[in-house]
Symmetry: C2
Amino acid sequence: MDIQTYMQTLGQQAREASRKLAAASTEAKNQALLGMAAAIRSRAPELLAANARDLDAARTAGLEAALIDRLSLTEKGIEAMAIGLEQVAALPDPIGEITDVKRRPSGIQVGKMRVPLGVIGIIYEARPNVTADAAALCLKSGNAAILRGGKEALHCNQAIAGCVREGLLSAGLPATAVQVVDTTDRAAVGHLITMPEFVDVIVPRGGKGLIERISREARVPVIKHLDGNCHVYVDRDADPDKVVPIVENAKTQRYGTCNTAESLLIDAEVAERYLPAIGAMFAARGVEMRACPSALAILRDAGIEPSRLVAATEQDWSEEYLAPIIAIRVVADVDQAMAHINRYSSGHTEAIITEHYTRAMRFLREVDSASVMINASTRFADGFEYGLGAEIGISTDKIHARGPVGLEGLTSQKWIVFGNGEIRR
Amino acid sequence: MDIQTYMQTLGQQAREASRKLAAASTEAKNQALLGMAAAIRSRAPELLAANARDLDAARTAGLEAALIDRLSLTEKGIEAMAIGLEQVAALPDPIGEITDVKRRPSGIQVGKMRVPLGVIGIIYEARPNVTADAAALCLKSGNAAILRGGKEALHCNQAIAGCVREGLLSAGLPATAVQVVDTTDRAAVGHLITMPEFVDVIVPRGGKGLIERISREARVPVIKHLDGNCHVYVDRDADPDKVVPIVENAKTQRYGTCNTAESLLIDAEVAERYLPAIGAMFAARGVEMRACPSALAILRDAGIEPSRLVAATEQDWSEEYLAPIIAIRVVADVDQAMAHINRYSSGHTEAIITEHYTRAMRFLREVDSASVMINASTRFADGFEYGLGAEIGISTDKIHARGPVGLEGLTSQKWIVFGNGEIRR
């Protein structure tokens, strides 16, 4: 079978399965999830063996250590996958929820019903746990899934796919409800993202290069996350006790996450008051500061270790460093802060530190990003912290799902009408 | 200025204006809408003169009568535009609404705020009233708009644009909040739909050809409406008093609308009972019936005028006739009805006529269309009938806006966090 025919077959089977899943009971879906967890636990030796084959191949191919690390599956990782499946089973089922029913003058009652999107294609890189996570979220939200993992994890992904199938069949659901693409041919992705007749939405999870390519070439809507260039703005009326803790946490709690702050903006009125302490904290933690001329002068005058200070260039305002580096700029006021953010931000997450009510509320409303916070660390922008129970990704789009995407982001609402024989006059 | 530079200038101006609109008060937006209505009334002679120039050109170019009819603006049409603007001013402002605020274990309070999408591009054909309607909906929802009307209506659209600007300026809002493309160069559309840096969403309004072309070529999300192949299914437990009135209304109240029924499905158990009366009604109204063999036999036996009866082909199940023609098929049961709909429907609107509770609820849940109705005419699928107050179009997409799109469909929800100095542990 050629690759196009193969992908179309997967698509057709997924579309058929999606009809059955849309009608499936919550009980059946949960039973399938618990069955998958049980299969993952009981087949742990098989998963470890499959992972060992992938790791051997990766080492032979000379893959870098970080990639091999991400590829590795441990007994602890297997248990975490099983627990993740059980957690999704415990979440409320979003499907079938009826809301906003209103009687209209014509006599009809109009409302909305939450329903699955249909078929979701997920494209991801080496981490094998994504196979189980993504399968669980798609299934619970009533969608069929086609999963395309990184070629380095092929054996492990197929072993996990076997557990997923076992869970589906144990609950009487079609095995084709979750299909894992069984080829390393890169053309598979090209077909997956150009079959609108079989696939309703694509969720790419991985590096920026992968996501940009998929967005450019897809003929199907994409729920995507590009970069996280997040800002903290220290307002002139910031509570002094909140400034350093929030700035420190937003930048240094973890360097590699998308909700980490990459830029600090500070009101000129309080720059001299707070920058010395902020600079000392960053220097102590080994964070390089790329600062505008005003900030640089203040930091130098404060005696901050010169090797940590760099003059910022225009490019720094747009960077997602994912590293111990932060851009720092002094701004005239909240208006300049918001203008800077709306110009340079990737639209992920921004925070203001202030006790001033009107400026806080203006920041919430006028900053055009997926998450906007008052007096809290940007690191809270996360599906679990927001209470979604699970997260398929964080969207920097404005259409459909925005910010952390949980089960609801994988659903749609249709209009429903309860009539009693009404006709239109 | 070349066309690309011109469109980019419009885009840049729209992006800047969108920041101001996102922060604009409800009062300012309403004042602008009322100012537009006043300008349209006071400049009626100017609008009629501009329309006369368009009509002259259209007649000289030998345009067909239907198009000239759509292009025509009367005094009554001008008054209707002004009233439409006043109605949008009277609608509640969706922007800034805060919902679903919950306190999380970390201490932060997380919720959602409804905000504008940003910049909306609207591409439409000859009707000049769309210029005022679209401007009003975009403005009320806090979005900047770039409008590209049909070239046949250029003079009239520019005259309406003058009234829109007058309204905006009277309320202290930027004149660039609504820009009407002032060129008939077709390349303008190509640029408008490929500037994601300046345009957040495209709404095409017009024929299927226009919409398909835009969807194919856009590099920006499109809220689109393709065809309306709507179905009515008569179940074995239909209330006999509801069958003919709903079928008649769904097909014959208006032939050219997208929520008109194009296919009738009927349960084999009651086909002989209802088809003779349905066939007689259609024949009396001059509706051609394209029927499956079983339906054809029943209709013939019932003595329906043979000239109204045609054997259906496979193609008929997918047709949007927009004409006095209906496809008719006898199905074995509700499962076959739903399978037929999910296979052939365009996903717009479907209705079941039944008194059977479980089949009614299954139809609501399992039929994958934007509107699904029990015992009501498909003709109700409409923004005004649903209580949206206004409608920018009807979406057959599942992502973002589905079904009739009102002000809410032109907005997004961002996450907001009310903190008190919380940091992530």
